[in-house]
């Protein structure tokens, strides 16, 4: 009996396969998760983001300026989406995250170029995420040196000086030293909250059902909404503890700048935490057992990391991926956190990201309550 026998081993193997076959959701996840990773890593993610929205503030509309703009466009990195009339307007577009770059062409650009005075071309970048702006700015350097070669012919050829005819100035706003941690550490807040909040609550109702306590709960006068909310509230406290831990570490360990109002950040974090908890509760009403609940949470977590702009630049993704990303709470929360901490955004600037969070919360909660009602009948 002590010897290893193949038929006993085979008995276990067979039993495992039968159980795997019975648990359709788990089997589906085993196929679904790799497919999803393939799609996300293979198609959605791009570490060389192009077509970044750009505002132009052109005080000079002359032929040289036009050639320059056309060259930036054909590089593929810049898509002109806005025209800013004033410096304040340009700054606001950056603040809101509407554009990644602002190209400033001064009024005396052509005149100074012709005089050989190396006019200044100022490109301002929202560098909160250095990986999004880096490749584009490298491209600009190459363009600025040679773009005017074709225009500067004949007597103007002398202007093709060795150091380049244009004085290119790059301003990386919000994160001038291009420190990756400044971008990653605030972003981690959304990722950590998504992971823990969704998984904890995904187990909440599944566990009641698995242990048989659900039937008892249903036989008492307690209402579905009371159960949902009662299960969410304690974890909101947990969520705030996590927010605090990450902020403390960001400040003392990583020295992440905190320009905006922490109070505002704490206030809006409520929406995000609640949205993730509601999602978890909804998963837990769908899952038949705790394993399924964890898998569903993971299924949600994966795009929340990859498509939210946490790991890879959001604007580098194809349109469909950006569309999926804009549904996810983490995408909006990341922008809110980075906006408040790094750009000093106020309530007005982050409001466009609050609505998607609210909508997500309401839909997830409604779905959860609706599913919960159906549990016994």
């Amino acid at each position: 009996m002590k010897r290893f026998t193949l038929h006993r081993l085979w008995a276990i193997v067979l039993k495992e396969f039968i159980q795997m076959k019975r648990d359709r959701v788990t089997f589906g996840m085993m196929v679904g998760i790799p497919l999803m990773q393939l799609m996300l890593f293979g198609f959605a993610i791009n570490s060389d983001p192009k077509h970044l929205p750009t505002a132009i503030r052109a005080a000079d509309q002359g032929p040289f300026a036009r050639t320059l703009v056309a060259a930036l466009r054909t590089s593929g990195y810049f898509t002109l989406t806005h025209e800013a009339a004033t410096e304040a307007e340009a700054r606001r577009l950056l603040q809101l995250g509407e554009v990644q770059f602002v190209i400033n062409i001064p009024a005396d650009f052509s005149r100074r170029l012709l005089r050989g005075e190396r006019p200044t071309l100022l490109i301002e970048a929202d560098a909160t995420d250095p990986s999004a702006t880096g490749p584009a700015l490298n491209a600009v350097r190459a363009i600025a040196d040679h773009v005017l070669d074709r225009d500067l012919t004949g007597p103007l050829a002398r202007l093709r000086a060795k150091s380049g005819p244009i004085d290119l100035q790059l301003h990386a706003h919000y994160n001038p030293e291009n420190i990756t941690q400044y971008n990653v550490v605030p972003g981690l807040m959304g990722v950590v909250l998504t992971m823990t909040m969704v998984i904890i609550t995904a187990l909440a109702i599944t566990r009641e059902r698995e242990r048989g306590t659900m039937e008892n709960l249903l036989s008492t006068p307690v209402r579905p909404f009371e159960v949902m909310l009662g299960k969410i509230l304690p974890y909101i406290v947990v969520g705030y503890i996590q927010v605090t831990l990450i902020l403390v570490a960001s400040h003392f360990v990583f020295h992440v700048p905190m320009i905006g109002s922490l109070l505002l950040l704490y206030a809006v974090s409520f929406l995000f935490i609640a949205a993730n908890l509601a999602m978890g509760i909804t998963f837990s009403t769908l899952a038949k057992n705790q394993l399924q609940a964890v898998q569903m949470a993971f299924f949600f977590f994966l795009p929340s990391i990859l498509l939210s702009g946490f790991m890879f630049p959001f604007r580098g993704m194809p349109e469909w991926a950006q569309w999926v990303g804009s549904i996810l709470p983490n995408t909006h929360y990341l922008r809110i956190v980075r906006g408040i901490l790094l750009k000093g955004n106020g309530l007005a600037e982050i409001t466009p990201h609050l609505w998607p969070l609210l909508a997500f919360l309401v839909v997830a909660m409604a779905l959860g309550v609706k599913r919960y009602r159906q549990t016994l009948d």
């Binding site: 249903l218 008492t220 006068p221």
Partner: protein
Amino acid sequence: MSDPIAPLSSPSDFAIDVTGVTKRFGAKTVVNAIDLRVRRGEIYGFLGPNGSGKTTFIRMLCGLLTPDAGSGTCLGYDVRSQQADIKRHVGYMTQKFSYYEDLSIRENLDFIARLYDVPDRRAAIQQSLERLGLTNRSHQLAGQLSGGWKQRLALAACLIHSPQLLLLDEPTAGVDPKARREFWDEIHRLAAQGLTVLITTHYMDEAERCHRLAYLAYGKLLTHGTLADVLASARLTTWTVTGPGLLDLAQKLRGLPGIEQVVAFGTTLHVSGRDATALEASLNSVRDPRHEWKEIHAGLEDVFISLMDAAKDNFA
């Protein structure tokens, strides 16, 4: 939201008064047109084989499931539309232990008491701990309790809001005889105070401790009434036989006309059938002077098995 006291318009003699209650899951009819009346203060035993629809029927009574057909009242509240009211006045003890194993006894009771909004909660919990002898264990985690103590906790928890009706789904499964007896003594005390109890069980001795019984099989109510009513309704004749070679005798008896059950009880065989003359004729055909035959009153178990066999012929 609604009056906590049962409305006076209902016939107050009956805690449960339902007719034609039916529940289907998909194509399967689990509870088939059951009529049931349970008087207030009565202990009503609900028996039947596994899967006969007892649990489903109880779940419809306490508002966990909505009947597909049929109507009636539970404590005067409509079983279809006033489920929330029913829940507040019914104590339901599930078949499987359904309290929190990672909470202590007191924490479990406190949780349930809060859900029912029990007035003067602390006193109610203390009282319930004392009555069921749980005071010394109140800080023990429910998960560490043995079967008997878990059952006491479950009973205490479903009594904490002073319900008028107690629905107990196999409360004594897996509980030792002494604990079972104490449990039943407690049930009788509660009934004496006016509480109505509907209890399902597979134990015949427990069935005999009920005021009234009902027997369910294949979703149908096969018989109901007092113990004597149920025994008489079956019209079952039972003989016992003792002596040598009972195993061979049992083999011979099975399949003879009029013989429906041949059951070994230690050193005796019980032989039963509904047709007394056919049964006796068959018994005479296997007479052996070494065997001693005696006619006895049919037991509850014989009656139920006979009912179930008859029902199988009708429904299955």
